[in-house]
């Protein structure tokens, strides 16, 4: 088995009486894609938010690159090597595509807001940042869109920008929340190709509704319903699981 980069054990998140995520454990390994599927409201996005620090878990443990991160702030978790994309496009709409990614790339510089030198230098002349930005844009296939204002590019390109910003911080663990949502056929295919490329050297958790993409990409598959894991294993094992067939796949693949 390859290297374990993120391990979440017995995560639970309660909102009042509702357990949105209930005793869920996930392991993410380098060079492997772990897909999480489930119907709407199954708790997939909440799980992502727990791992990224957007929400603190009610209970459970998360270890990211050897550091305990449950309940830590999203900025600290990001700096420990986790990058996430959002289901609902979450970019800087008035900025250019280049500036969106450049801003994300700048965050991995050692920075203190109290250092006056950083008040006077020019942001667009940080060479390492520009290189990271260029690389991320190229990976996501957006190089030609650099000077365009992010609010004016197509929905599919905004999804690509989501990924480019996530990559710009050079994370080791990627949490991608429905990267294919709302994409056309051609765009989806190139995104699947990109995800396959990113698999190398990254540990990836993929939340996705597109079953063709999931079965094409996933090494490991976890099925959630009502906040709980009802099955986890290789795609073949999960596909054969009678509980899964009844609860989820059966209905969609009828």
């Amino acid at each position: 088995m390859s290297e374990l980069l993120l391990s979440a054990q017995h995560l639970t998140k309660r909102f009042g009486g509702l357990a949105a995520v209930n005793d869920v454990s996930v392991d993410l390994f380098r060079d492997r894609i772990h897909a999480v599927i489930g119907p709407n409201g199954a708790g997939k996005s909440t799980l992502t938010n727990l791992l990224s620090g957007d929400l603190p878990p009610t209970s459970g443990r998360i270890t990211l690159n050897g550091v305990e991160t449950a309940g830590q702030s999203p900025e600290r978790i990001s700096r420990l090597g986790l990058g996430r994309s959002y289901q609902k496009t979450n970019i800087f709409l008035p900025f250019t595509v280049w500036d969106n990614v450049r801003l994300a790339a700048q965050s991995s510089e050692r920075h203190s807001p109290w250092n006056p030198l950083r008040w006077l230098g020019r942001a667009d002349q940080l060479r390492a940042v520009n290189q990271r930005c260029e690389r991320a844009l190229e990976l996501a296939g957006l190089t030609h869109r650099g000077p365009t204002v992010a609010g004016t590019i197509s929905h599919g390109e905004q999804r690509q920008l989501e990924i480019a910003m996530t990559l710009a911080t050079e994370p080791t663990v990627l949490l991608l929340d429905e990267p294919l949502a709302g994409m056309g056929q051609a765009e989806a295919e190139s995104m699947v190709a990109l995800l396959l490329k990113l698999k190398k050297n990254h540990a990836m958790m993929l939340v996705e509704h597109d079953m063709d993409a999931v079965f094409a990409l996933a090494d490991q598959l976890t099925v959630m319903v009502n906040g709980q894991v009802i099955a986890s294993g290789t795609p073949a094992q999960v596909r054969a699981d009678p509980v899964v067939q009844a609860a989820y796949l059966g209905e969609e693949h009828a």
Binding site: L93, R118, L120
Partner: protein, 329 residues
């Protein structure tokens, strides 16, 4: 489109020329023989000081997206600092009184900021106002701090530098040029800051703070640093104001002062500091104009602001850009 409104950050060439012309006009004004020039020198000095104050607020309001309704507290505190530091019988050295006052205002902003920058939107507005009111009443109700009457600044600061007495701030024209120099310096500094790594993070926070945290920025520290810096720069303005007028009172840190600064920034156009300068001059000019017209000037002032917001949502500078932009095509 539902995207947040882009602020005008890069100034078009034509606008830069216009601003340069304005600065030049200020520089040659003392040589222009006009009737009552002493009065106008004082008035322009005050406008320039308010422009520095408005720029310091723009760092929060236009760049970082934090609308502070208590920014006058730091303006006033630095003014009081000068009043307290100046002995009864002799002037104090500018070269340590100015940094000390600005740092004092910055320290107050750091302490208050530590509590307020955790809040967002309407809560931020309310808490900044609440803290400013506390400072206001601390001085207003306290005889030892001057009370409601305020304090006199007996002498303008002494600018003697290593025995060189070339700058005499008691001279109106010299003070005018000194203020102009500070205005230009603060503007150049803030323009530089806007495109620095720090400035880019601040505008990222304005547009989407949530995503900034997700890509690894500790936004609290950035906002606190911006709040502290803005407080110190407001302090520079407040110091100059106290030196210029020779007098401080609690009104300097009052609600009206804070609200006027917000209106100046909106009037001129947010997020590029040039707008704050234009807004401060325009606001003061229109206010004096209406004051001469009627004692109900506030009614006219309100109408004027509403008109600008409706007709020029990006302020006078945004309006100018639109008009100039059309000509260039």
């Amino acid at each position: 489109m539902s995207s947040p409104k882009a602020t005008l950050e890069l100034l078009p060439k034509s606008m830069q020329v216009l601003l340069g012309t304005g600065a030049l006009a200020l520089a040659v004004f003392p040589f222009v023989p006009v009737e009552g020039s002493a009065f106008y020198l004082q008035m322009l000095s005050q406008m320039m000081i308010l422009a520095i104050f408005a720029m310091s607020l723009d760092l929060l309001q236009g760049v970082t997206g934090m609308v502070s309704l208590g920014h006058a507290a730091y303006f006033g505190l630095a003014g009081y600092a000068l009043a307290f530091l100046t002995p009864a019988d002799t002037p104090i050295s500018l070269w340590w009184a100015l940094p000390a006052s600005a740092l004092g205002a910055g320290l107050a902003a750091l302490i208050i900021g530590f509590f307020v920058v955790r809040t967002h939107g309407i809560y931020f507005i309310m808490v900044t106002m609440a803290f400013a009111q506390m400072v206001f009443f601390l001085f207003f109700d306290n005889k030892a701090l001057g009370g409601s009457d305020g304090l006199y600044v007996n002498f303008r600061p002494d600018a003697t530098l290593f025995g060189w007495t070339g700058i005499d701030l008691e001279n109106k024209t010299t003070f005018y040029y000194f203020t102009l120099a500070v205005l230009v310096l603060v503007y150049a500094f803030l323009r530089r800051l806007l495109f620095s790594p720090f400035g880019r993070v601040l505008s990222g926070i304005r547009v989407n703070e949530h995503r900034m945290r997700a890509v690894g920025y500790g936004t609290f520290g950035y906002k606190l640093a911006a709040f502290t810096l803005a407080g110190s720069l407001a302090g520079v303005a407040g110091f100059l104001w106290a030196a210029q007028t020779g007098y401080v009172n609690p009104e300097l840190m009052g609600f009206h002062m804070s609200a006027h600064a917000i209106m100046m920034v909106i009037l001129g156009g947010m997020g590029n500091f040039a707008g704050a300068i234009v807004g401060a001059f325009a606001f003061e000019y229109v206010m004096h104009f209406f004051k001469d017209l009627t004692k109900h000037w506030q009614l006219l002032m309100g109408g004027f602001i509403v008109l600008v917001v409706v007709l020029a949502p990006r302020g006078l500078l945004g309006l100018g850009e639109r008009l100039l932009g059309k000509k260039e095509h």
